[in-house]
Structures are given as structure tokens and as C-alpha cells.
């Protein structure tokens, strides 16, 4: 066995880590640790520059262990592991130390303690790395079917994109029909096309596709398993049905905020939301003579800080529609800023102004007030440019509210073991680099489940999610991480504890060279390590998480205290 030679690469992550943790000090410290023969810092270890430095140092310094101290293994471990492999180092000789999510970002105002903590984490990582062993991976088959949860624009598009590649798709929709939220919208911006013209052909194609199995009025009840082999149970009309799929796309959309308590909504009959306006007035109700729309209702406020992104476009669209029905209608849009982004929507905004829609800016300190007894009669607004209050007559007040996460998100997130962001929308693995993937392999997200998305955005995201979800199915095999359990039959007393606790029935007792002992079926082992902790004789171990590795991390953490050296 050659001498252990550890290389440590500490990442600044731009200012993310380097702005809090004193990275050069951590590197200096790493150089003093046992078995560390090389240490350096990188502006971004995950950049090509950082990665080629790892490859170079593996060769030049003959490194046989690599430790990277940067972000989280949940997003970046595969990248660094494959970098090690490219330089001829078995990827299981790589150890990750998290000094960003678990250190710099949560101790931003305490650089001294953050630096000390980063040093300790590196010390623990190096200690474990010394005991790592090379491993061989196993391959496991991918079940050739996908699950799409949600039958709105995003879900239908993703399902079609998969099915057109010949992949079997289960499309689960909670409601009685496909189409999602957009079904309640009558016309679309900026083309002013009838929604039915866009959505109905898609529904027809999805419903008729031979590779798509539709599950209407169905909900995901339970989910278990891994990429390539998910067991999902859905409840349809009270009956449970089990599905086996290789990948999962979350396209559950979002819902319009009902602004109860704001601007006398739900108190006065003629105060409605944009979606209610679509449903009621664009389908034949008598049209009012003067309409005041209030934007940013319940959005960009302290309790809901995000921007609904396309609500401004929706208000502009409905204002234009009113002007087109009757040019004499007075239409006001009270806004805080108009988000008319992109190449087409700005033109649309200009068109509204040309048609005579009046835009009045208000601010959050003096919001508009809806006036009237029994029904809204006027809206009082502090006109910023005129510097005085105006009473705008109103037969109808339309409140523009953002989409909000579905209440069910929490439950679904728990089932699929994927995170939600602070606002309650699903959270992808990386905002910029992995925008439609979850950190959990084999699960993807698209459409308004992630954040309010209009149709073109939902469709592009759905294509992306379908492309990603089809890769493992196309490859047919996924490599299973070599973190499975293994039994040392010489130490095994065949007590059978491990057989009892294994959730997957992967262990059996067998007669062998050293008498009866436990035997792990690697194909069935999922690498939880339950059996290892249950083994009284230490015969059972988990690759990559064995007792020596974990105990020496504990030892490394405790070390400093027994030396008596204190933090600064």
C-alpha cells in the first residue's frame, strides 16, 4: 500500500465563502494536517481552472486522496468525483467538505468562528479521506417509464415530449380534466389568441397518445425508491394503484392568490381578481363603464416578497380587451412598477397606452383605497406625478394577484424528498446551473410549481425537464453508488440482527467457508447502513461510511480540545 498522500483544495466560491471564511488561513492550516502533501485555494474549484488544477496535482504530487472544501456534495460531488477519475484516481478516494452551506452562509457575520469551523471541517474531512478505499460501482436497470405529476401546460408538454420519444408516460392530474389553471383564462397575452385554440389541441394530442396513460382525478399517495426504480402509488377515485417508473417530473403548477381582506375583496361584490374577471366578464356578463385595476395585490409586500412576474401582462391584456370591446370604457391600472419584460410584452404595454388605458403609479406607503357602501364606487389613489389624491370612479375593481404555491406542495415535497423554497414553491438543485433538476436524482420540476411562469416559459421548461427525464431511460442503466454494505464473514457470528433490520430484505444467512454468516445481496442493498449499526460484532460495514472512517472524523473533531488549544 503506497503512503497516503492527501491533496486539499479550498474554494473561495467567489465571495460566497471567501467573503466570510479566511480561505488562505484554512489552506495554511490544511498543510499542517497529517498525510496532507498539498493544499491550495481556488477562486472557483468547480471552474475548469480549478478542475484542471485537481487533475494536475493528482499527477504531479501523486495524490491518492482528494479533499475539496467548497459547497455541498448534493450538487457538486459528481463533478469532483469524475474529475478525479479523469486523472486516474478512483472516485471513491474523494471526500467533500461543506464550508459554504454549512459554514460561510450561516455564519456571515462571524468570520473568526466561521474560519475556525472551516478548519475543523477540513480536519475531519482529511481524517476520513485517509481511510477511504477504492470501490467498484454496480449498474442497475432503469424502468422504462416516466411519471408526470400535473396535467397543466407544463405537465402536458412534458408528457408529450417524453411520449414522442417512445417512452411510456403516466400523467397524473388531480382535477377531472386536463388543462390546468390556464383553462379558466379566456385569452392569452401578447397574442390575444383564445386560450381554447392553444390548449384544446394539446389536450387532444395528450389524450390520444398511445404512450400516455392518463390518470384523472388522481393524486400521488406515496412514493419510494431511487432514480430508475421509483414505486409510486396513486389514488384514483378512492382506489389505490401502484406504478413503477424510472423518472418523475413535478408539474403541479400554482394557484391564484385570493386576496381575502385586501381592498375589500370578498366584502364588496364588484371587487374581483383577474381570474374571476376572465371567468365572469369575458364569457358574456354585462361590461362595466369604468374599471380600476390594482396591481401587486399581495405581491412584493413584506409577507410575500416575490414578484408574480406575469400579473402585469395579465392586467394589460384585460385592459386592452376592455378597450377593444368598448373604446369609451374608462380603464385605469394602478401599479407599483410595470413588469413588461422581453421583446413582445413591452410592445403590448405601449399598445395599451395608445388605446387610452391610464397607468397610475402608487407606492406601498399610501396604497389605493376602495370607496363605496355595499359596492365599490370609486378608488382613491395618491397620484405620484400630480402629487395629490384622485378619486377614480369605478363600476368594477379588478385586483391583480400573483400565483401562490399550492397547499399540497409541502406533502408532495415530503413524499418525493425534494425541497421547497421559503415562499413554498419547489426548489431546484441549482438556480443557474441545474434549473429544472432536483438535487434528488431522477426527479425534475417545470412550470409554475417552481415559480409563476407564463405559457412560453412553462413550455420551454417542460421540454427541458422531459429531455432530462428521458436521459436515464434512454441509457437504460444507472450506476449505483458503491456505498453498499459488506460483511466480513470471519467476524460474523450469524446472529441475524442485520437480516431483521434490513428494510430491503437484502441480507441472508448462508453457509460459507467460515461457517454460517451474513451475506449482502449488493443489487438489493440501497446503502442505508441500518445493518451496520445493528451489528454487534463490527462484521458488517458500509462502503464509504465504515466505522473507522466515521470514528476518525469524531476523533479529528475532538482532537483540538484534548490539545488544549482554544479558538481565537
Amino acid at each position: 500500500m503506497p503512503r497516503t498522500r492527501v491533496g486539499v483544495f479550498v474554494c473561495h466560491c467567489g465571495n460566497n465563502i471567501g467573503g466570510v471564511v479566511r480561505v488562505p488561513e484554512v489552506v495554511e492550516y490544511a498543510r499542517t494536517l497529517p498525510n496532507v502533501v498539498y493544499a491550495e485555494d481556488n477562486l472557483y474549484t468547480c471552474s475548469e481552472e480549478g478542475l484542471s488544477s485537481i487533475r494536475e496535482q493528482i499527477r504531479e504530487q501523486a495524490l491518492n486522496r482528494v479533499v475539496v472544501a467548497s459547497c455541498t456534495p448534493r450538487t457538486h460531488e459528481p463533478l469532483f468525483q469524475s474529475t478525479c477519475e479523469e486523472a486516474g484516481l478512483n472516485k471513491y478516494l474523494f471526500e467533500f467538505v461543506n464550508i459554504r452551506e454549512h459554514c460561510a452562509w450561516v455564519h456571515m457575520h462571524d468570520p473568526a468562528r466561521a474560519t475556525e469551523k472551516a478548519k475543523e471541517l477540513v480536519r475531519m474531512g482529511v481524517a476520513k479521506a485517509c481511510y477511504l478505499e477504492p470501490q467498484e460501482e454496480f449498474e442497475s436497470e432503469v424502468f422504462p417509464a416516466a411519471l408526470v405529476i400535473g396535467g397543466g401546460m407544463a405537465g402536458m408538454t412534458a408528457a408529450l415530449a417524453l411520449a414522442n420519444q417512445g417512452i411510456k408516460v403516466h400523467l397524473v392530474e388531480r382535477g377531472p380534466h386536463l388543462g390546468g389553471l390556464v383553462r379558466t383564462v379566456q385569452t392569452l397575452f401578447p397574442t390575444e389568441q383564445a386560450t381554447a385554440e392553444v390548449v384544446h389541441p394539446l389536450i387532444a394530442r395528450v389524450s390520444a397518445h398511445s404512450e400516455i396513460t392518463l390518470h384523472l382525478e388522481s393524486e400521488v399517495e406515496d412514493a419510494a425508491g431511487f432514480i430508475g426504480d421509483f414505486d409510486v402509488s396513486i389514488r384514483s377515485n378512492g382506489e389505490l394503484q401502484d406504478l413503477k417508473v424510472g423518472t418523475i417530473i413535478v408539474a403541479t403548477g400554482a394557484e391564484e392568490l385570493r386576496p381575502v381582506g385586501l381592498y375589500r375583496y370578498s366584502e364588496l361584490p364588484n371587487v374581483v381578481t383577474q381570474l374571476e374577471f376572465e371567468e365572469k366578464f369575458k364569457t358574456g356578463a354585462e361590461l362595466p363603464d369604468s374599471v380600476v385595476m390594482i396591481n401587486c395585490v399581495g405581491a412584493r409586500v413584506p409577507e410575500r416578497t416575490y414578484c408574480g412576474r406575469f400579473c402585469c401582462s395579465t392586467a394589460i391584456k384585460n385592459a386592452i380587451w376592455l378597450k377593444e370591446q368598448n373604446p369609451q370604457t374608462n380603464v385605469y391600472i394602478l401599479h407599483r412598477d410595470v413588469m413588461a419584460y422581453g421583446v413582445d410584452i413591452e410592445k403590448f404595454y405601449r399598445r395599451a397606452m395608445e388605446l387610452g388605458v391610464r397607468f397610475v403609479r402608487y407606492d406601498l406607503e399610501s396604497p389605493p383605497v376602495v370607496l363605496g357602501e355595499g359596492r365599490a364606487e370609486a378608488v382613491r389613489v395618491q397620484h405620484q406625478l400630480m402629487g395629490r389624491e384622485l378619486d377614480l370612479p369605478a363600476d368594477l375593481v379588478v385586483l391583480t394577484t400573483p400565483l401562490v404555491p399550492r397547499e399540497d406542495n409541502e406533502r408532495l415535497a415530503q413524499l418525493l424528498k425534494v425541497p421547497l423554497g421559503g415562499e413554498g414553491f419547489f426548489l431546484e438543485a441549482h438556480l443557474k446551473l441545474r434549473p429544472i433538476e432536483f438535487a434528488t436524482d431522477g426527479v425534475y420540476v417545470c412550470g409554475s410549481a417552481r415559480y409563476p411562469s407564463n405559457i412560453p416559459e412553462s413550455v420551454s421548461q417542460a421540454y427541458a425537464a422531459a429531455a432530462k427525464a428521458s436521459i436515464p431511460i434512454g441509457e437504460g442503466l444507472v450506476r449505483v453508488a458503491a456505498i453498499t454494505a459488506v460483511c466480513d464473514e470471519r467476524a460474523c457470528s450469524a446472529c441475524g440482527n442485520c437480516v431483521e433490520v434490513c428494510p430491503f430484505g437484502a441480507i441472508e444467512l448462508r453457509e460459507g467457508r467460515f461457517g454460517k454468516s451474513a451475506y449482502v445481496n449488493t443489487a438489493q442493498c440501497k446503502g442505508c447502513g441500518c445493518c451496520v449499526a445493528a451489528c454487534p460484532s463490527g462484521a458488517m460495514q458500509q462502503r464509504g461510511f465504515d466505522d473507522r472512517q466515521l470514528l476518525c472524523m469524531i476523533g479529528a473533531l475532538a482532537e483540538e480540545m484534548t490539545d488544549g488549544t482554544a479558538a481565537p
Partner: protein, 154 residues
């Protein structure tokens, strides 16, 4: 960033706590706390395991015997284990282990088992805060009062 003087608790004691977090829920929850920039005491050092049930009781005893002030095991909520039932073992072992710790003279509060899901960044931060406060109140761990030697030392 301007360097700030270290904040000190009532007695200036800053506990050091070893945390085992399962890969699927709690480690992801800890990541989410970071992504959300939730600030918390710099008391915890997280060791990633695939499942909370991987944590051998010896690890906890070893950490406390070596002088760490506390050990926290974090797993998925009961019923939501990625491996379907691992955290039930964790829960049962945890209860037994606390009794054992008490028996040998280590304050059982130094060892805690909590549940944090992948979507509960805020709960992770709260848990770190709470457990840090509790262990601060106990004061530094003085190993050797109960178990004189580390049983895991080989």
C-alpha cells in the same frame, strides 16, 4: 466584511456539538438553511451519513467521552425515511441510549435526536439554536465522570 467581536454566552462557554445528518432529509435541510442564509451559532459540525440509522451508539459515546459537549442525530420525520424504516431504529436506539447515558452519569440532554426534512431549512436553524442553548445551560462536558475510558478506542 468588518470583523466582529465574538459574542459570548452568559458564561463565555461555547459548546461544540457533533451532528449526524441523513443525506436525504436533514443534510438537505441544512443545505437549505445555508441557501436561505439563516444565521445560526457556529457550534455544530455536520457529518453526513446516508441514514440516521447508520449512527452506531458507540459514535455518540465516543464523541462524549472525547469531550465534545453534545451529539445531535438528525433524520427524516418518522414515516418519511428514504429507506422506509431506518429512522424508527434511530428513535428506539436514541431512547435506550439516553437511558444508558444517564446511568453512567452523562447528562442525557447532551444527546438528542430530532427530525428535519429537506424542506425545513428554518427548522434546522431553530434546532441548532435550541440544542446549542440547552447544552450551553448544561455547561462544558467533563468526560471521565461516568465512563473513564472511551470504549471505542482500539
Amino acid at each position: 466584511m468588518a470583523q466582529q467581536p465574538p459574542e459570548s454566552g452568559g458564561n463565555g462557554f461555547e459548546p461544540r456539538i457533533l451532528v449526524f445528518a441523513c443525506n436525504w432529509c436533514s443534510y438537505a435541510g441544512a443545505d437549505l438553511a445555508g441557501v436561505s442564509r439563516l444565521q445560526m451559532p457556529a457550534s455544530c459540525r455536520v457529518v453526513r451519513v446516508m441514514c440516521s440509522a447508520r449512527v452506531r451508539p458507540e459514535f455518540v459515546i465516543s464523541a462524549l467521552c472525547k469531550g465534545l459537549d453534545g451529539v445531535l442525530i438528525l433524520g427524516c420525520h418518522p414515516g418519511e425515511c428514504h429507506y422506509s424504516e431506518g429512522n424508527y431504529f434511530t428513535r428506539r436506539r436514541g431512547l435506550l441510549l439516553r437511558k444508558l447515558l444517564e446511568y453512567v452519569g452523562i447528562e442525557p440532554e447532551r444527546f438528542q435526536v430530532r427530525w428535519v426534512s429537506a424542506s425545513e431549512g428554518a427548522k434546522f436553524a431553530e434546532t441548532v439554536e435550541q440544542v446549542t442553548e440547552q447544552i450551553k445551560a448544561l455547561g462544558p462536558n467533563r468526560p471521565g465522570i461516568g465512563l473513564s475510558t472511551d470504549p471505542t478506542r482500539r
